[in-house]
C-alpha cells in the first residue's frame, strides 16, 4: 500500500476539561472518499480541525503528504480545500468576489473566466453578482464547496457538508462530492447521517466519544459483525413464542410492529406464518430490512447514532 496522504497518529485533543479525542489514529489513502461517521459531539470536527491545523492536539501528530501539520501548517494548509461545519464566509461579498478572494488567500489568482467556470460546476453562475447572505441554504452550501476548491486542492475536507439541507440539495452536494472524487481528489467528510456515509464513502471510520471504534469499507463493516436482517410485521403474538421461532435472535414490539432479528429471514417468515395461523391471527405489512451502518453503530457502541445528538 502506498504512503497515506493523511496520516494521524495517536491524537489526543481537549477543550478545557473536555477530552474530545482519545488517542485517535487514522490514515487516508490518496484518491479515496473517506467518511467520519458519528453522532454530534463524537469528535469528528475536532479530528478535522487537527488535520486542518486549526486545533493543536495535546498529543500525537498529523502528517499531510509527509509534512507535519504542527511544524509547518502553512505548507499543509496549502494542500487542503476546506469547508467548515458552519458556512463561515464573508456574507457581504458577492459569490464571485468570495471565490476570487479565497483563491487569492492561497496565492491562486483566478481570471473572471475561471471564476465563471468554477461557478458553473456548482450551478451558481446566475448568482455570480449576488451577495452571499442572499443565497438559499443549498446555494450557500454549494458556494462553500466552490470556495473550498477555488485553490484547486488535491485534498478536500468537508465538515458536515449536507447537514440542514433538504433532500434535493443534499443529492446535489453528493453529486458534487462524487465529481471531485472523479477528478482524483482525496475527500474526507464528516457526517452523522448513515445513508450519506453509505452512499458516498469508500471507507468509513466510526467515531464515538473521541475514539474510532471501527474503520473499513461500509460492506465490510456490515459483513464483519455478522449482523442479522430485521424482519418487521404487524401482528399480535406473544413475544416468548416469537423468540423461539427458528433463527430469531431477538424480538421486540415497537408500537404495533413486531421486529425480529434473524439470520435467515425466509425461514423465520414461514415459521411466523405457521405460528400466526395456529393462533388465529393475521399478518399484515411484512417488511425486510438488511443490516446497515446504523446497526453497525448500535452494535459497536451500544447506542444509536441519533441518540447522543
Amino acid at each position: 500500500m502506498s504512503k497515506p496522504i493523511i496520516d494521524a497518529q495517536n491524537l489526543t485533543a481537549a477543550y478545557g476539561s473536555i477530552t474530545a479525542l482519545k488517542g485517535v489514529s487514522l490514515s487516508v489513502e490518496k484518491g479515496e472518499i473517506f467518511g467520519l461517521l458519528g453522532p454530534n459531539g463524537a469528535g469528528k470536527s475536532t479530528l478535522l480541525a487537527c488535520v486542518e491545523g486549526l486545533h493543536k492536539p495535546n498529543q500525537g501528530s498529523v502528517h499531510i503528504g509527509g509534512i507535519n501539520v504542527q511544524s509547518d501548517s502553512t505548507a499543509t494548509k496549502r494542500q487542503l480545500g476546506i469547508q467548515l461545519q458552519r458556512t463561515a464566509l464573508m456574507d457581504d461579498l458577492t459569490v464571485a468576489e468570495l471565490v476570487e478572494v479565497y483563491a487569492a488567500l492561497y496565492e491562486v489568482y483566478l481570471t473572471s473566466g475561471q471564476i465563471n467556470d468554477l461557478l458553473a460546476r456548482f450551478d451558481l453562475v446566475e448568482k455570480r453578482n449576488v451577495l452571499a447572505r442572499r443565497l438559499s441554504g443549498g446555494q450557500q452550501q454549494r458556494l462553500a464547496l466552490a470556495v473550498a476548491i477555488a485553490n484547486d486542492p488535491q485534498i478536500v475536507l468537508l465538515d458536515e457538508p449536507t447537514s440542514a439541507l433538504d433532500p434535493h440539495a443534499r443529492r446535489a452536494v453528493w453529486d458534487i462530492v462524487r465529481q471531485l472524487h472523479d477528478e482524483g481528489r482525496t475527500i474526507v467528510l464528516t457526517t452523522h447521517a448513515m445513508e450519506e456515509a453509505e452512499a458516498l464513502c469508500g471507507r468509513i471510520a466510526i467515531i464515538d466519544r473521541g475514539q474510532i471504534v471501527a474503520c473499513d469499507t461500509p460492506a465490510a463493516l456490515i459483513a464483519n459483525l455478522q449482523l442479522n436482517s430485521m424482519l418487521k410485521a404487524t401482528v399480535e403474538l406473544p413475544l416468548d413464542q416469537v423468540r423461539s421461532l427458528p433463527d430469531v435472535s431477538n424480538a421486540r414490539y415497537t408500537g404495533q410492529h413486531l421486529e425480529m432479528e434473524t439470520a435467515r429471514p425466509e425461514v423465520t417468515l414461514t415459521a411466523l406464518h405457521e405460528l400466526a395461523g395456529r393462533s388465529g391471527r393475521s399478518i399484515r405489512d411484512v417488511m425486510l430490512r438488511q443490516p446497515n451502518l446504523e446497526d453497525v453503530f448500535l452494535k459497536l457502541t451500544g447506542h444509536a447514532l441519533a441518540e447522543s445528538n
Binding site: 477543550y15 505548507a75 476546506i82 467548515l84 458552519r86 461579498l93 476570487e100 479565497y102 492561497y106
Partner: protein, 242 residues
C-alpha cells in the same frame, strides 16, 4: 502583495456594504457636528477639534473593531485561519481599511465645520492636524483591540468601549474645560489617552502650531499605542470564547 490587495479590496467592500458600519462611521460624525452646532454654534471653532477627537475615540474603541468581532462570531476568522494567509496580513489589511475610514470621518467633520460653522482652517493647520489625529486614532484602535480581545461577544465589547468613551469624553478637555474638574482628577487626566490627543489636535487646527508639550503628548500616545498593541496581539482570538 497581490494577495494583500485582493484581501484589502474585499475588506473595503465588506465595510462599505454594512449598514451599521456606514451609519456609525459616516453619518453619526456629521450628526455630532449638527448636535454640537445646535447647542453652541458660537463655540464651534473651539469645539470642532474636540468633536474630531471624540469621534476618533468612539471609532477607535468601538466601531473599528465591529467588523472584526462580527467575523469572529460568525466563524469567518476561523475559516480564514484555515487558509495559508499569515495573520499579520489579515490584521494589516483590516487596520489599513479602518485607518482610511477613520481619516475619512475626520475629514467629514472638518468639512462640516468649515461649511456649516465657518471654522477657519488653513493648509498648515490641516497639514499639522492630520498626523496628530492619526496618532490618536492608532492609539485608540490599539486600546479597542484590548477590549475586543477580552470581550466574549461583540455586544459586551461595545458596552465596555462606550463606558470608557463616555468617561474620557467628560474628563479629557473635549467638551468640558479641565477647570471644571476636581483637583485630584485634573492631575490624573493628562496621563489618560484622550487628553494628549485633544491638546495636539486643538493647537494644530486652531493655531496651526504644535502644542508646547507636543513631545510629551506624543510620547505618552506612543506608549499607550505600543503597549496596547502588544496586549491586544496577546489577547487576539480567532474564535469566540467557548
Amino acid at each position: 502583495m497581490k494577495r494583500f490587495l485582493i484581501l484589502t479590496k474585499a475588506m473595503t467592500l465588506m465595510h462599505l456594504r454594512n449598514g451599521y458600519v456606514l451609519f456609525w462611521n459616516f453619518t453619526f460624525p456629521v450628526l455630532l457636528m449638527f448636535i454640537y452646532g445646535a447647542v453652541m454654534s458660537q463655540y464651534m471653532d473651539y469645539m470642532t477639534p474636540g468633536v474630531i477627537v471624540l469621534n476618533a475615540l468612539s471609532f477607535g474603541l468601538v466601531s473599528s473593531s465591529t467588523m472584526m468581532l462580527e467575523m469572529r462570531e460568525k466563524s469567518v476568522l476561523r475559516r480564514l485561519q484555515a487558509t495559508p494567509l499569515p495573520a499579520v496580513q489579515l490584521i494589516g489589511s483590516y487596520l489599513l481599511v479602518n485607518v482610511i475610514i477613520g481619516v475619512l470621518q475626520s475629514t467629514l467633520i472638518i468639512l462640516a465645520g468649515v461649511v456649516l460653522y465657518d471654522v477657519p482652517v488653513t493648509a498648515t493647520s490641516l497639514l499639522l492636524s492630520y498626523p496628530m489625529i492619526l496618532a490618536g486614532m492608532l492609539a485608540f484602535m490599539a486600546l479597542g483591540g484590548i477590549i475586543s480581545g477580552m470581550a466574549a461577544k461583540a455586544g459586551s465589547a461595545t458596552a465596555v468601549g462606550m463606558t470608557i468613551y463616555f468617561l474620557l469624553m467628560f474628563i479629557s478637555d473635549m467638551v468640558f474645560p479641565l477647570d471644571m474638574l476636581p483637583d485630584w482628577l485634573r492631575n490624573v487626566v493628562p496621563y489618560l489617552p484622550a487628553y494628549p490627543v485633544v491638546q495636539l489636535v486643538r493647537s494644530a487646527m486652531l493655531e496651526a502650531t504644535l502644542d508646547p508639550k507636543w513631545l510629551t503628548h506624543l510620547f505618552l500616545l506612543a506608549a499607550y499605542g505600543i503597549g496596547a498593541t502588544f496586549i491586544a496581539a496577546k489577547l487576539f482570538r480567532w474564535e469566540p470564547k467557548a
